[in-house]
């Protein structure tokens, strides 16, 4: 600046001021734009306050009631807080159900997304699949739950749950709940993986074909690694939905707060039997629930919320790490 000589006609003119940010200069905006900006801020702060209120309230309530022994004792029947035990079984149940559901939804969703994005043929089938997945995404989980009870009460699926002496199939088990929860997680996995694949420019695929690689190789070695942030996001969002769902758990995992194995094969019997998760534990212990131990419900809800928050941070981390090739 100093090297330049100011034009003599305007000796007092200052050097052009550095461009101010859009918000600073909003005084020069049109009225509708200014109203829009104010509205956006209002909404943004509003949602932030609501979210912060929920999280803070649950944190404060939860931290007040959460005690280490709750994590290691099973729920039991009792009249006072000290008699009703902790939430070991629901905590394990949440982990088991999430793992089982994702074991179904993740590989299936990944394959569907790759097929839809990279192959898409036969195109009619692809279109039908696409709208089916969208329909699944919009279906309330209670509908899945209801369908699940019908499905798993069929004699042909007796293996997946308890059968009583009269030959009636009970239809409620970890298998039943996880398979229906997988349907809830599936659209999230498909949508995210697909989005990630489609965000990769066409010339990357072409570069791979141009050195003699097949479509499958290109997908496995170039596209999926490049889309890894989206793949991880899809999986994590799926897990988040699964561990947060209540309707399917209440209807399909049975109303037992403790593990209630069916049969006597260790491991398998637990999965064939009924149990609970943190969501159904909260449901049962909420002030309106049958167990009505609000302090336990708050503690469990706190744990559940923490799990979801940790998951969100994990997604963030994965996305950021995945960008290191960009």
């Amino acid at each position: 600046m100093s090297a330049m000589t100011a034009p003599p006609a305007q000796p007092a003119s200052p050097p052009p001021a550095p461009r101010r940010s859009a918000r600073d200069s909003s005084a020069s905006w049109r009225l509708t734009d200014r109203l829009g900006l104010a509205f956006a801020w209002l909404l943004g702060i509003g949602f932030l306050v609501v979210t912060a209120a929920i999280v803070l309230y649950m944190m404060v309530q939860g931290l007040r009631y959460v005690r280490p022994e709750l994590f290691v004792t099973s729920p039991s029947a009792g009249f006072t807080e000290s008699e009703t035990g902790g939430f070991l079984d629901p905590l394990l149940g949440t982990v088991i159900v999430a793992a089982m559901a994702m074991a179904i939804a993740f590989p299936l969703g990944l394959c569907i997304a790759v097929w839809l994005s990279e192959y898409g043929r036969p195109s009619l089938l692809a279109r039908v699949t696409e709208s089916t997945i969208e329909m699944l995404a919009g279906t309330p989980s209670i509908v899945f739950a209801l369908f699940g009870t019908l499905l798993f009460e069929q004699g042909a699926l007796a293996f997946f749950s308890r059968t009583n002496d009269g030959g009636v199939v009970y239809g409620r088990s970890f298998f039943a709940a996880a398979s229906m929860l997988a349907l809830i997680a599936l659209p999230l996995v498909v949508a995210n993986v697909r989005e990630g694949l489609q965000a990769i420019p066409a010339h990357v695929r072409e570069a791979s074909y141009a050195v003699g690689k097949t479509k499958l190789t290109t997908t496995r070695r170039v596209l999926l690694p490049a889309a890894r942030p989206s793949v991880v996001t899809g999986a994590m969002l799926g897990v988040g939905r699964v561990i947060g769902d209540t309707a399917v758990i209440v209807l399909l995992l049975g109303a037992t707060l403790r593990f209630n194995p069916a049969g006597d094969v260790p491991g398998l019997s637990q999965l064939k039997g009924t149990g609970s998760t943190l969501t159904s534990f909260v449901y049962a212990n909420a002030p309106t629930g049958e167990a009505n131990q609000p302090t336990k419900a708050y503690a469990a809800a706190f744990v559940l919320l923490s799990m979801v928050l940790v998951l969100n941070f994990a997604v963030d981390l994965a996305v950021r790490r995945g960008r290191r090739w960009r």
Binding site: V204, E206, A210, G212, K213, R221, P225, A226, W325
Partner: protein, 295 residues
């Protein structure tokens, strides 16, 4: 390399060694009688590919119309012509990349060392006839993996890194990039500069040890210095592989091409040695185009 006969060794002046006053192609006076350029095709030039009455259409629109051309090793063939004249389509048909476009239909034959390319496995063909694109398009991986990816078998992670080290280095050396990246092979390829990325793409295309190298306007996204580096590289490479380059830049075609094919509206208007096409074009269309009349 897989030659039976020794590769023809011809050294043309590199782009950097050109006289400072680069003659405008087709400039008044046709001062194309440049020093040091060999006009005749080398008698040792080996014909690698033959395009035989090739027609390509996208739906009803004919993009390439009955084009016949030889492609020889030891020479750089430049395809020139105005936008939309079918040069890129022709180039992409040489390794059957046009097949990825659903609406494309083809007539005619392309021979690679006497074999009809239509009878070859596309993946095998594309390893023998590799391609570099207009935009540098390295994979979102490390520099090393970008080259190693080509060398590995379909989808397999083997052979291991150490076994590939030599081949990766040689490909990077041939692309003139080794000295610049040898210290950071593990760095992301997308953090290289545009010119380096494009040379990485050339290294990738060379790693497959191809017989023909296709270049689709490889310098159009690059600055003049990177362009010069890549042009020098192309001139060197033609001793090892047959090089076909599509370019919009007539001066570039003039600088590096031995043979030039001028296309217009899908037809091959003129094909001949660069000196002749630029200096004494036979067709009026060519004369107009190389003297900047249209296009």
């Amino acid at each position: 390399m897989r030659f039976v006969t020794p590769p023809p060794v011809r050294r043309l002046p590199l782009a950097g060694e050109q006289p400072a006053t680069v003659v405008e192609p087709g400039a008044p006076g046709g001062a194309v009688a440049t020093s040091g350029r060999r006009l005749q095709a080398s008698p040792m030039a080996v014909e690698r590919m033959t395009v035989d009455r090739m027609s390509i259409a996208y739906g009803a629109k004919v993009a390439v119309d009955e084009v016949s051309l030889p492609i020889r090793q030891g020479e750089v063939l430049a395809l020139i012509g105005p936008s939309g004249c079918g040069k890129t389509t022709l180039l992409r048909s040489l390794n059957r990349l046009t097949e990825l476009t659903k609406t494309a239909s083809m007539k005619g034959r392309i021979l690679l060392d006497g074999t009809d390319t239509a009878t070859l496995e596309p993946t095998a063909l594309r390893r023998r006839v590799t391609m570099v694109f207009q935009q540098p398009n390295p994979f979102p991986m490390s520099v090393f993996d970008n080259v190693a990816y080509v060398l590995r078998e379909q989808a397999s992670r083997r052979p291991r890194k150490r076994a590939l080290q030599g081949a990766v280095q040689s490909a990077l050396e041939r692309a003139g990039l080794w000295e610049e990246v040898k210290g950071n092979l593990a760095h992301p390829a997308l953090r290289l500069s545009g010119g380096q990325q494009q040379r990485l793409c050339i290294a990738r295309a060379l790693a497959a040890d191809p017989e023909v190298l296709l270049l689709d306007e490889p310098c159009s996204a690059l600055d003049p210095i990177s362009t010069q580096v890549i042009e020098e590289l192309i001139v060197q490479l033609r001793e090892q592989v047959a090089v076909v380059i599509v370019t919009h830049n007539l001066q570039q075609a003039f600088r590096i091409a031995d043979y030039v094919a001028f296309m217009y509206l899908g037809e091959l208007v003129e094909y001949g040695p660069a000196e002749q096409v630029f200096g004494a074009p036979r067709a009026d269309r060519t004369k107009e185009y190389v003297s900047g009349g249209f296009g």
